[in-house]
Subunit: 337 residues, 2 copies
DNA sequence: GGTGGCTGTGAGAGCGCTCTCAACCCGTCT
DNA sequence: AGACGGGTTGAGAGCGCTCTCACAGCCACC
């Protein structure tokens, strides 16, 4: 384990450059108070030795870790469509690319690991990005009480002072339903998501607002699911039973929309001729169904990027951090509507 | 940024416990050379103060970072089915759960970031997990030359001394084709993946071996794709044109299988009645197609877990690290075959 | 009663870095 | 000529921890 025993230190750089360690440090950290000659000499020495600063030593004195934590709670991967996690991580990584900041990943599974996450938080990162679907996420309270800067993915359900970045779920749903109306649909039902999760609530609200905007459209064509394919099937069957005359379904997730397509096909209803279907997420599956799914796209990569930006702002205290940032969603029209 | 100014140090723990810093350190690190009384006193002090060791200070002296890097190259997320990344990370995280080791994520996008990755490697982690599809990945050579322990996901194409963990692509393909044979299919074609990637090569090899096992089966019913849906469509059309009488297609990825389903449907070929289709990956989309896709499941979570185990073995030098570890794949039979 | 080993303990060095502080050089002003 | 000020520099402390080393205490043995 004692690798890199030969890694050069700042001391060696300084002595090769013929300066003191302090001056070498100034060069490494880009201080302006260094003469051009000294700077050049140190830079030459750095190249010659292949010097890279020892992060631990630096952290010890600066009291910064130069890394941020990405905490993902268990349920998340199941709830969001699969591209979500990878795309978000990509966005976060993008935003971090120019900096020296590391991204430390913590998947928060069970309660037994909770203490681990806590210690982790307080000791090892400068800030935290939290991805959590659970409304009752105890970490939220912990983070709010901690001086550690944190940014949430998605609107939290309970009141908290922590800033968050979200996609405009309500407006996305609203636009999806308006689209169905414009296509001439008048009996538009929805399969809503869980009502203990912000996306579930907000997408249903968008649906309701759009339906209320249209005079003469019934407003109670709602079934509830859990974002899964199976629940989409169940929801569709329930809707067809209660309201056989519906001519459109807005599903609050692509997977539920897939379930709807399957249920409709089983019942012999043609999509989009008899019933139009719109999903939400613009996940991989949306392009693999038959017919291909009209769905609401959410800018997940931007979500990650913006979370980092907000966190960095909080870290260096340069600019005030807005408590809420909401990114626009947009409709992707394919063949199912 | 000067948060946690009040974080307790080992010194404070020791003084509260009435011992020296050295003894407190022994307790923290679980040394057996401490009397029960001293241990209890220190533990009480730790609880009272809410002490957590300063990682930077520890790293500085131990010369370990207690973290490992997960390096993912750009193309990867596109190539593998979407659940791949999340599931692998989950497996890695699982394996790390009991330890104090952190997981640092690096997405290696462009060449300009290459130097960043290099510095990162040499300075900040004890070991590396590399996920890379590219055969010509320059990091491979760098890692092989570096004393930094590394474990690869997937068989590397060029010869290297680095250990890797892979899933049994060839056998998975073999089993898939044998399954088609058992279902009575005799004109079995394949849409192979890119031949500059190990999974593409190995899955084709498995197909060829299975076909060779069956006397009287033609062996040149091969089209090539890039694992994407679109390439699956193209490959299917190409196959149908060249060999209109094929009665089964083994696609080297689920997405290509989806493309095949779409192309077949357009041509009015029924699946599985006229043509059976089998995919590879057991991704989310496999369960959302119509008919649902028979596919080869690969234990991606186990892949991650095992990579960590191999890396840890390399780190503590306890046991020799096998150069290759291959995990079994298995067929998931659904409706398309 | 002395020797040897074995256990538990504390003093102290030092990991590589940043940052404060005082010193220094040199040109400019009184 | 002396005082002053801005720019540049180096000495040195110290971040919180681990780990070596020496030593004190204790038992068993000759």
């Amino acid at each position: 384990m004692t690798r890199n025993a030969e890694r050069p230190t700042l001391e060696q750089v300084a002595s090769l450059a013929g300066t003191s360690r302090a001056t070498a440090s100034r060069v490494v950290n880009g201080s302006p108070r260094v003469s051009p000659e000294a700077r050049a000499a140190v830079e030459r020495a750095i190249d010659a030795l292949g010097y890279a600063p020892n992060r631990a030593a630096r952290s010890l004195v600066t009291r910064r870790s130069d890394s941020i934590g990405l905490i993902v709670t268990e349920s998340e991967e199941r709830v969001f469509g699969e591209p979500f996690f990878a795309t978000l991580v990509r966005g976060v990584s993008d935003a971090l690319a120019g900096t020296e900041t590391h991204l430390v990943l913590v998947l928060n599974r069970s309660d037994q690991e909770h203490s681990r996450v806590r210690r982790f938080l307080s000791a090892h990162v400068d800030g935290v990005l939290l991805i959590s679907a659970h409304a009752d996420e105890p970490l939220l309270a912990q983070l709010a009480a901690d001086p550690l800067p944190a940014v949430l993915a998605g609107r939290p359900l309970q009141p908290t002072s922590l800033p968050y970045v979200d996609v405009d779920n309500a407006h996305g749903a609203y636009v999806a339903v308006r689209h169905l109306v414009e296509r001439g649909r008048s009996r538009i039902a929805t399969i809503a998501g869980p009502q203990d999760m912000a996306p579930g609530i907000d997408r249903l609200e968008g649906y309701r607002r759009a339906v209320a905007d249209v005079v003469g459209t019934a407003s109670s064509l709602v079934a509830f699911g859990d974002f899964s394919t199976a629940s989409g099937e169940r929801g569709t069957e329930e809707l067809l039973e209660r309201h056989p005359d519906i001519d459109a379904i807005f599903a609050a997730s692509d997977l539920m929309a897939v379930g709807a397509l399957q249920a409709l096909q089983r019942r012999g209803r043609r999509v989009p001729e008899d019933i139009a279907v719109v999903g939400f997420d613009d996940s991989v599956v949306a392009a693999t169904t038959h017919p291909q799914l009209t769905t609401v796209h959410q800018p997940v990569g931007d979500l990650g990027r913006l979370m980092v930006q907000r966190l960095c702002a909080a870290l260096d205290g340069s600019s005030p951090v807005p408590r809420a940032t909401v990114l626009p969603t947009h409709l992707v029209v394919r063949d199912s509507s």
